[in-house]
Amino acid sequence: MMKTTVLAIFLSSFAYAQNSYSINGLVKDESSGEPITGATIKVKENPTITIETNEYGFYSMSLPENDYTLIISHSKHQTLSKSIHLDGTLKMDWSLKKENEIELVELKGKKSPVVTKSRSGGEVLDVMATSKLPVLLGERDILKTIQFLPGVASQEGSSGISVRGGNTDQNLILLDEAPVFNNSHFFGFFSTFNSDALRNVTLYKSNIPSQYGGRLSSVLDIKGKEGNNQKFGATGGIGLISSRLSVEGPIQKGKSSFIISGRRTYADLIYKLISNDEKNKDTQLFFYDLNAKVNFQLNPNNSIHLSGYLGQDKFQYQDFKNNWGNIASSLRWNSIISSKLFSNTSLVYSNYNYNVGIDSKEESIEIKPKIDNFIFKQDFSHYVNQKHSLKYGLQTSYYNFTTPTVSGTQESPIVSHKKSMWENALYVNDDYQVTDKLLVNYGIRATLFSAGKGETAYGEATEKNNHIVFEPRLMLNYELNKNNIVTASYFRTSQGLQALSANDGSLVNDVWINLKKPMVSDQISLGYTRKFNNGYEISTDIYYKKMNNLADYKEGVKIEALQDLNKNLLYSGIGRAYGLEFMAKKTTGRLTGWLSYTLSKSQRKIEGINEGNWYNATQDKTHNLSIVANYALSQKWTLSSAFVYATGNAVTFPAGKYVVDGNTILQYGERNSNRMPAYNRLDISATYEPQNNRRFKSSWSFGIYNIYSRKNAASIDFESNSHNGTGIRAIKNSMFTIVPNVTYNFKF
């Protein structure tokens, strides 16, 4: 009896003292060794626990000693489960099989291009799956795919995106942690991102977790492929205007790998062949880019990743040239410090520069603005217990801005003007599983903006040079039941620099400068998602955003890029944007795709512009509709189509005319109170994938852009009527009518 009691007490106290043990590890793709972000791990015995792998494929959780069955799933991979007996810290790495490799027989295994939502509210795009969507000239482009999402507005022929009524320079675009300042090639017709080199793309617009900061509207977090650490392979494509090639493989099998991807367009070579004009023989118009990445697994807990991007555009026509380029590079050290603590340390260097000039007998001028950005970042993922997982860290970022200015002497009329800025930030956030239905992510980011030593920020020397912004971030995710989810979020963001003259995504390069005062934005949004059993899902979001300290060019004066920009700017502008977003998607079956619709308004108000009244932002689009459909016709053929309809941009048209000194002058009224004609377009494409042998895979893709050849307005000019000297006529210029394409892709 005594014995039993003692045993009972002993057992119960043991039960109380029972230790929780940590399980952690990395989740990778079996065939390539690429880490898998956003895979979920569930515990069969305790359904309230759901853990998601982080952006480097790492997970960690704590459970009391017991027998468990762990189930790991990911939308693009086969679900896997393992039974374990947990009686100590367990390191457990997983290798998942790609979904379509095991379901060759069944059509439903075809990849669906549909965007999925991550646990932290980001929209995740599968880069490979979007490859079948129709695109201009066959250049697949994740930025173009993002333009099909609700809340994202764009202009034809531009890679600039406006997220929820923000400006095109308010998106933080990160390629392996390094910011990319100009995301366009060819004046914006193509993006800087070569899809062959990318692994994962996440867009945050309704909740920006506090590890991100520095831009107002959104974060586009792009992770490059790590390179296959199992076997060598090559991927490539030959298209109408460009070709690309990627080579990847292990350096040490299973441990370290590399990938190099390159791309070059050759439109100019063809042009030279067909052009008879001697003058045009010197014409240059091409871009190339290069992505390279090397990874080393130092030991099971430590790895080093080196990633570099280099892109360059060359444009030369007669005596005019415009060349620009981006560098985005990072050196990262991933370390599993303990079973619960994951660390990522990054050193980043980014650069954007351009060189525009005219070299003729009349005048010779060359300007070379640039921005350099050096970043040190330390991030920790800390899995505290089943309910809390923390992210915290710091970031210190130094910017150098070089802008050209008039020197005042006739010998060398242009000199470089240098400014600098520090942006230092601390952040923390907690992913808190309050109940099995309620998930809260709350956190804060504190950012200190300081003008560099010996330099004042834009503005007067006497003005304050340090600005600290506290940015609270909060997201609630409540599952009413399995199929009904309500989300709510509030966040504040700040931005200390701005790209001038790029607000409409026009063909002119942008100049980055730091601001007198950081811009601040506050946004609230509320969302509801309903899932249906047969793969359908609808979701809707409403948001309201206000922005402060916006700067814009003065009105009614000639803006000269060579002048001190400070003279041309107005500060203390405010902005507001609000809207309703709706998305319906079908994720399984032969037919997949989505419909996205946004109803929105975005306005600005700055003393000195439009008489101090509210006016429409250029990116303000009342209606924005996209329909994307993907249909698996047979094992070999996939058909895709995309339809877009959007209200025209807000523009200022003349509202009268008069005469000064004998010249006809156009009279302008309220700013941006007119509209370009509404935009619409239908693209289709077909992908043919013959069943090659296991090692070599190839595909053909055929597409037609703007199939009904609609002449969408790119610009509207006003000029005198040639038939009648005094009259004025309006001329609509359009860029792309029907454009076919064919691309051959291969992989081995």
Partner: protein
């Protein structure tokens, strides 16, 4: 320049020849015509000086610009001189008004009970010593005004360049932001192509800052003018007239020279 590049680019990059087209469309409906336009010039030359008051018209309208005949136009200076101008043949005209370098002039135009005022200061005189010219590109000539910029900074010059037979009349601007206090070496880059044997009239004006900035911004809103581009929505140029009237009032110096390109 930029406009051409864009046009070129549109034509060029899509060698498929399936793209890039322009077509005439209906003029926009927005109408804010009926605004008061004032054009007033006084100079160091002997009067009379003229002020014109008109109204803007609809974009689609082809009948001339309505002249406002019932305005009250008063010209004053900072020394108490004041004169009400009389209407004659489309212009308001001074009779006795005199001007002096360095004085500040105020123009007041009252139309239907609304007063529009403008202030302009006549700068000091800078002499136009000579006008040279050079063939800078292909077969085109560009005039080069010869004058010595005063040592103090901030001198602004407006040149009215016209052809002998009045075939063209263009404004070119120079400042001393580059080459302060030096003999001018800059050319006047006219859009009109001056050819051999052309007679060219060059009028040099010293103007104040608001007038300089107004004429700098004007080509951006002139029909068939320069491409304003750069993503900044077009707007009426900032001028020196109050109450939303368009146009300008300039008190400036004036010196003319005529050259024949040989």
């Amino acid at each position: 320049m930029m406009k051409n590049i864009i046009k070129y680019f549109i034509c060029f990059s899509f060698i498929t020849m399936l793209t890039g087209c322009s077509e005439e469309i209906e003029l926009p409906k927005a109408d804010e015509s009926g605004k008061i336009i004032i054009e007033g010039n006084i100079s160091d030359m002997a009067g009379p000086y003229y002020v014109q008051v008109t109204r803007s018209i609809k974009l689609s309208q082809d009948t001339g610009y309505p002249i406002v005949k019932n305005a009250t136009v008063v010209l004053k200076d900072n020394n108490g001189q004041s004169e009400t101008l009389e209407y004659e043949n489309g212009y308001y005209k001074t009779k006795n008004f005199t001007t002096q370098y360095g004085n500040t002039y105020t123009l007041s135009v009252t139309v239907d009970g609304v007063e529009y005022t403008a202030v302009s200061k006549m700068p000091k005189k800078v002499n136009l010593d000579d006008v040279k010219y050079a063939k800078l590109s292909d077969n085109y000539y560009y005039p080069q005004p010869i004058f010595t910029d005063p040592a103090e900074k901030g001198n602004l010059y407006l040149f009215q360049v016209s052809q002998g037979n009045g075939f063209f009349n263009e404004v070119a601007l120079l400042s001393d932001e580059v080459g302060n206090g030096e003999v001018n070496t800059k050319y006047l880059f006219t859009k009109y192509h001056i050819l051999k044997n052309d007679t060219v009239n060059v009028e040099m004006q010293s103007v104040d800052m608001p007038i300089f900035n107004y004429f700098k911004a004007l080509p951006g809103v002139t029909l068939n003018g320069e491409y304003s581009g750069g993503g900044v929505p077009p707007a009426n140029p900032v001028n020196n007239i109050s109450n939303g009237a368009l146009g300008y009032f300039s008190a400036h110096t004036s010196e003319k020279k005529t050259i024949i390109i040989q």
